[in-house]
Symmetry: C2
Subunit: 174 residues, 2 copies
């Protein structure tokens, strides 16, 4: 299974990163993991990714130590970010901010807030109130202000319409 296409010979940190997280869907899966998604079917329903691709990506990320798999309370497998996976937050945030800055409006953009002080996180990752750069486990995601045309009804999409802290399981129970 030669899943991750190699960028041969490139002795470069970027090429190494892209071999791990550069394939289609992978960064969106990791984003959802930060948002608290943990179950196979929740990733699938929220992202619309084909089962075979999702299975492949999750196995690969577990092998690479980005995610870890554990049997959940109900016997269902659950996936969670490892420390190594959580260290992808700055990269994820930088890409997310660039896209939001150039392609979204204030109404369609989600805000992220700092749990300690309630401040808002800016595109550079800094809290506008206490001037620190919080890690994801100190952040909460806020719902969009604008309503979407046909609101999706899968458990994750519904959970995303209320504020909640990152890295805290959602969807698995509701």
């Amino acid at each position: 299974m030669p899943l991750p296409r190699e960028y041969l010979d490139q002795e470069c940190g970027l090429a190494r990163s892209l071999e791990i997280v550069g394939e289609r869907w992978t960064l969106l899966i990791i984003r959802d993991a930060f948002y608290g998604v943990s179950r196979f079917s929740d990733f699938r329903d929220h992202l619309g990714v084909p089962r075979a691709v999702l299975s492949e990506r999750l196995n690969f990320l577990v092998d690479e130590g980005v995610l870890e798999r554990a049997a959940g309370a109900s016997g269902r497998d659950e996936y969670a970010l490892t420390d190594k996976g959580q260290r992808l937050w700055p990269a994820l945030w930088a890409l997310l901010s660039w896209g939001a800055d150039h392609y979204l409006t204030d109404r369609t953009r989600r805000r992220f807030t700092h749990n300690d002080c309630g401040g808002t996180i800016g595109s550079d990752g800094r809290c506008d109130t206490c001037d620190t750069t919080p890690m994801p486990d100190d952040l909460s995601i806020q719902p969009r202000s604008g309503r979407k045309r046909p609101a999706k009804t899968d458990p994750v999409s519904r959970a995303m319409r209320t504020a909640h802290p990152l890295l805290t399981p959602i969807g698995a129970d509701s």
Copy 2:
């Protein structure tokens, strides 16, 4: 030409970003543009990307306002990052650092230095000497300390063996 596969319905900055820079080769092309690569053949020789793919990616990035094309002094087309493209630096740096932290050693890792003070840039993007977060036009890239097995001989690879500032054309003349 539906080049950028769409991540439909995802009203998310990350999905938007990935539609622009999430395809294979795209971020490596942008990295090389930061390093000073500007000509079609230099991208091709340094990355080993198929001509058709490179042509497609460059056109798309120009259309999206990430790169701009200009006729160079010798009549050859030259590509350079726009402001919008340069704002991808934090994302690129975060991915590069993550990959270097987890997959490279001190000997294979490139260092980046701050032109103003000569300090070294850390994984968080901050200069270890003056404690600022320089933009790419204030940075220089240093060669690796370790030698590679069979050193590549294309103009860009040769230029990368000496320190030089980012965003300053290399390879085009040498």
